[in-house]
Symmetry: D2
Subunit: 261 residues, 4 copies
């Protein structure tokens, strides 16, 4: 990592947020997706963040076809929280960029992974599991129940959030035991899903949130916008970006004073 890592925002500066989207459904002209998301899924998510968080955020977007997928070392060094949406093009994301994103998360960048991003290289690399699940696309009602009522990510939304039509994601969801289980979803068919879960990886905070699909206008739902905005605030870095390394301790160090983490 370059010294660019040191360019950390001031406490009162807006959070620098990047919404990444593979943007394949949109650019190849899938009708229903274009109808739901005329500005792209990234455009809708970014608009929701700007609407909810206002001047507290500085939101930009990046897509697969940008140079380096829009995620250069410089760009990541200046990003506080990255959001990730992908579906059909996970294997087109370069391993170099994945390594870079993973390193930035471990060094303190926040990460929000949305919906089908469960199968992205970034997410499976950070979690260490297959992240497989069950699914069925039949326009079912999803109910998103709050299981952690005092968690900041659940602030200001009803329990349940009612999403009239959705793709079903169901257990068994092959993830590590979450640090925090914030939301559980049920579907008309009777399935259940751990739909809002958090993890820490190094100095970075991760939030996975499953509601959201290209075929349904879920990212326009006011409660969903609120949850994603809450997630961005929750996942913000708590200090300067810093790569953790194995350090040799001096002998007798504790006589001479304390050191950092």
């Amino acid at each position: 990592m370059s010294d660019a890592r040191e360019s950390v925002r001031q406490e009162d500066a807006p959070l620098r947020v990047v919404v990444w989207n593979e943007n394949v459904h949109e650019s190849r002209g899938d009708e229903i997706v274009n109808r739901n998301y005329p500005e792209g899924i990234h455009g809708a998510v970014a608009a929701g963040l700007r609407e909810t968080l206002g001047d507290d955020v500085d939101v930009s977007t990046a897509v697969l076809t940008d140079p380096e997928h829009g995620l250069s070392e410089q760009r990541l060094a200046e990003t506080d929280v990255l959001l990730w949406w992908g579906h059909v093009a996970h294997d087109q994301v370069s391993d170099d960029v994945v390594d870079r994103v993973v390193a930035h998360v471990q060094a303190g960048m926040g990460l929000i992974v949305l919906h089908s991003g469960h199968y992205s290289k970034v997410f499976t690399r950070l979690l260490g599991t297959t992240c497989s699940l069950r699914w069925r696309n039949d326009g079912e009602r999803e109910l998103v129940w709050t299981i952690a009522p005092t968690h900041p990510i659940a602030e200001g939304v009803p329990s349940p959030i009612v999403i009239p039509e959705q793709e079903m994601y169901g257990e068994y969801f092959d993830i590590p035991t979450p640090d925090e289980l914030v939301f559980l979803s049920t579907f008309t068919g009777g399935e259940v899903f751990r739909s809002g879960v958090t993890y820490r990886r190094g100095l970075g905070k991760l939030f996975y949130f499953s509601p959201g699909d290209q075929e349904y206008p879920v990212y326009h739902h006011p409660d969903i916008k609120r949850v994603i905005a809450n997630g961005v605030r929750w996942a913000r870095p708590t200090g300067p970006r810093r790569q953790l390394t194995a350090d040799q301790h001096p002998l007798g160090w504790f006589e001479g004073g304390a050191s950092g983490v």
Copy 2:
């Protein structure tokens, strides 16, 4: 994965255990290592398992210089629990073999990672963090305290286990929050380390245990042998090896009957 995965042991058959060691210190003739471990670290760990578990285990060893590092698809398919020791040659382990080991763990194979194996590709891939730590090699006394008194891995050992001379490993240890914190170690210098931790990854169980070093005869310590044997028993698979995948659920399936995980 091949069908070889289906070759699962009978309930009453011995556990098939493979102790993997990079075997570099030993084969290049590091004097102190050869003195401590004339049969290699893998030889000492394997002997400890045979001594402690007797007919309940069928233990073999594998090293870096074996073809495919001794970890072919066939060999892994017939392994219930794999132990991993590495130090100076982590980057010589082929990515193909790492992918294979990771897939087998996720599909149900048990994994015990020892000491400096914290920095192995296999461990960092399954955990998603850097696994960095602090260290000092000064022959300090390590005390290994039991924090989970009813955990099967802590069965039959005193709290603390006293290791007269050891390399120090200290916090901050960059790992995800463990599923279970079994042991905490302290050192003469005052440092502390989460020295025994467990994780689940898919259908596989992982146990990391830090005591053990090439320069100290730790693997001959009776309590350490016991912990490693307990770990092997704890990490054994609970069912046939099986790769988890994303499955489509049929409509109305719950009318017609139940399905597997």
Copy 3:
């Protein structure tokens, strides 16, 4: 606690299991309950355990109207795992007996709390929360999904278990974050519930399992019988019963040898 605590079973002796039931619905002649459970709920649960575990268990029952509710110090000292069913008479359970049960759990006795036992004094005392929940008795279908596929309590049951008619229990369930989340249930109405959760309290293991109600024949369901039997095996003590106390450490103790937990 008396010395009776020391009467611990031999490794190969049957597990000594007591099924406790307030037995109020049954003894006051609630028709539907008597029809579902002619031998009482305790009788049905005990029969399920004997059928599933055979000679591995020695099962007896106890009810509210027994002297000391059937839970004398002597009886508890000779109990490996206690099961608890209560509903309308929680406040009739004497505080002395509650203190005694809590102390035995903390000292190593296993405890399985069933269904409306969530509101029992024993459970709320061990958990430290209100254990409140939402409910609706409308004969809905309950689906019990396995979230921890390698957990021994989930062994041998399909995911989901289908219970045709049940009382609904729904979130928010006011419990501490479980040590392990084994099952999640959904209901026809769309609610979700953490229906199978485990905790450790001192040297004792707890399993709460919500399926089961006096108005539905749930305890005759083969999968439910299996889960409860799995729970009993899982919750068995790992050593002699022992009351944990605050102990003064001698100076320089670690020179002279190791001590117990």
Copy 4:
């Protein structure tokens, strides 16, 4: 609980903090305690909070000999975060007051339990374990290591915090698995202790922090003051105080709209 519960602070109003101390060592004239804490332990803790948090807090104190121990229903209803210090007089705290404090924590009041408060009725009731531990009073050096580097409670303190002289608290500490393990302490004698742990109980947040003793001037240590102040901010309520109860769900409710937790 009375309607007084509804008197919740405005978002920008100071946090209302009460420091409770049994105040027995001080009032009976224990010399070393009076020397270390001329204003009482509660006075020192309160002064540290005022110094660190300034206008963000409104700090008052209460002691055992106050009417209702200074913890009337009205007082608790107007308290955002309660700190608890007790040692020799745990059993003199009335059960009615304990019930009241527990109910307020479960309904959203924050609670910080300090040092020997581990054995208080309030803490053991909320945790459900004996909270026993090992101890030795020999003026040892305590090192407080940060294990959760991004946790707000660890903000702004070195790792380790060095306390030159302290009473030793050691494992096994009989507590439930913490929601978050923030600090681990080591002592000259080689013991280890989970010295900073958090829990949620209902809508309330708990932080236990072990450094601090009547015989050593620990509460004047700048890093300890900072940790306690961080704890107070972390434990503040996230909404109006509210008693959780078991609620019946209406049939078909999800058609008509959403409800609260």
